[in-house]
């Protein structure tokens, strides 16, 4: 079964990351790389997103499209990446996510068009 993992960063996490020494940051990346390698056979497409300052949001629910600078929710928690995975069921997805060494929040959601 396919799932999309949505990775969410918090302000505290971003701050901690900013204040890391280069060596610490290297270790953090290495942990994520190890996780990616461990589950390589289950991982499909995905991307780490650039920082929220690069985001542009378009609202189409008014009379005219409204284009604004920034992510769609102005909040402390920001989607920072996504990853498609293919696993047996939700429990296996949960097992994977439990080991995730990066950002502090991960949402697991199946894509709508799934095989039944």
């Amino acid at each position: 079964m396919k799932y999309v993992l949505m990775f969410v960063e918090t302000e505290e996490f971003a701050e901690r990351f900013r204040t890391m020494s280069p060596a610490e940051r290297g270790q953090a990346f290495a942990r994520v790389d190890r996780w990616l390698a461990e589950y390589a056979d289950k991982i499909g497409n995905g991307a780490k997103l650039a920082s929220p300052e690069t985001a542009t949001t378009v609202r189409l629910d008014g009379a005219e499209p409204i284009i604004t600078d920034g992510p769609f929710v102005e909040g402390k928690e920001i989607v920072s990446g996504f990853l498609e995975i293919e696993v047996a069921d939700l429990d296996e997805a949960l097992r994977m996510v439990r080991d995730w060494p990066g950002c502090p929040i991960v949402e697991i959601r199946p894509p709508e068009a799934m095989e039944r």
Partner: protein, 398 residues
């Protein structure tokens, strides 16, 4: 009307409906469909059995009705044809699927209210109407909750299986929480008992089912013992006007001593695993009360030790409050008050905190302060139903 006692009807339905649903899921391959089939059979049974009497083979009766309903579904959705054709009842030499069913209903990816509603409906075979009445919520709310949960199980890929060993402990804790919640809802309920189903009955049944299926899990035994120890003393909890009787004023001759002994036996066997847990400890505390022939015989030092252990496993201000109540009887009101004062910050909004404080202050002759604390407790619980509930909670945990 029929001669079938409601309790007997409930027991038979629960026994067979849950089992039937559990065995249908792996065959039908779809949790929601299996549940719908059985649910329709249960509704039919609730209508027919009080009139016709409980059939000689209730399981076969339910299966026939569920299957007939399945055939209706089949006409609409051709893909069930092959699977329905394979169905037989009783399922020969199948392992008991109800354990999978319980773990699926109590999956942590479902909200707590959804876990509770699903478990009662699917494992216990209650109707949405019965669940709604027991929780004093509109039936549509319960129906929606169940529909949404079933949709999530299918769409989010929640598996139908008993968790692997390395995941079992937290998942079992989740199941026990749901059962205990159902028990408390029934036991502490101020809802019209005559017209709502006694959920403590379903909770006891669930705990005993789980105990049968997982005999090596001491916390399951602990929860079953806890529930039975409470229920064994239920007859003494209310006076003739329906008012609550505090523990110290209860007529202990009304306690079912055989049931108490049987529950303690379960607890003792659980304790032999040497894996203590919150439910075993709570049961042990209640056992101390249940074993005391008179209020004066209560083994307060033992109770206080058990609260100490409970605090090690699950520290919480409410448990510390209950320990302070035990302290009152082991070391006097002054010591108890000192323990209570440390909780002032965290339990400021908790009426029992103030009610207990009032009692201690009165013991110490500080009547003015006691009255203030009493008023504070009252101001936090305006409605009489809640007051009754809180009184019962005090009773439960002391």
């Amino acid at each position: 009307m029929s001669g079938v006692p409601q309790a007997e009807l409930a027991r038979v339905l629960r026994e067979h409906a849950g089992q039937l649903a559990a065995s249908l899921v792996p065959l039908i391959g779809d949790f929601g469909t299996a549940e719908d089939l059985v649910q329709d059979a249960v509704v039919a049974a609730l209508e027919r059995w009080p009139l016709d009497g409980i059939p000689e083979r209730p399981d076969a009766w339910l299966f026939t009705v569920a299957r007939r309903r399945g055939l209706d579904v089949l006409r609409r959705e051709g893909n069930y044809r092959r699977k329905l054709a394979q169905l037989q009842w009783p399922v020969p030499a199948e392992p008991d699927h109800r354990l999978q069913l319980v773990f699926t209903c109590c999956h942590p990816a479902l909200s707590r209210p959804a876990q509770v509603a699903l478990t009662l409906r699917i494992v216990c075979g209650l109707t949405t109407a019965q669940i709604a009445r027991a929780f004093l919520v509109p039936e549509t709310t319960i129906a929606q909750r169940i529909t949404r949960a079933k949709r999530k199980i299918a769409a989010a890929g929640i598996p139908y299986r008993v968790p692997a060993d390395d995941e079992l402990a937290p998942r079992l804790a989740e199941v026990l929480t749901v059962i205990y919640l159902v028990f408390n809802e029934g036991y502490l309920s101020t809802a019209d008992q005559a017209h709502s189903k006694d959920l403590s009955d379903d909770a006891e049944w669930l705990a005993s089912l789980l105990h049968t299926l997982m005999p090596a899990e001491p916390e399951v035994g602990g929860l079953l013992a806890l529930i039975r120890l409470h229920r064994a003393r239920a007859a003494a909890r209310f006076d003739s006007d329906g008012g609550l009787v505090p523990l110290e004023a209860q007529d202990r001759s009304l306690w079912d001593q055989d049931a108490v002994d049987a529950a303690i036996h379960i607890l003792t066997r659980a304790a032999r695993h040497h894996r203590p847990g919150p439910y075993q400890l709570q049961a042990a505390i209640v056992a101390c009360h249940a074993e005391a022939r008179r209020w004066e015989d209560t083994d307060w030092p033992q109770i206080r030790v058990l609260y100490d252990l409970l605090l090690l496993l699950s520290p919480s201000p409410v448990i510390r409050l209950n320990r302070a109540i035990a302290t009152r009887y082991t070391s006097g009101p002054q010591a108890a008050l000192a323990e209570l004062d440390e909780l002032a910050g965290s339990l400021e909004a908790y009426p029992i905190f103030h009610a207990t404080k009032a009692e201690l202050l009165r013991d110490l002759g500080r009547t003015g302060e006691a009255a203030t604390a009493d008023q504070r407790a009252l101001s936090l619980t305006q409605n009489p139903a809640q007051q009754a509930l809180l009184g019962q909670r005090l009773d439960l945990f002391t």
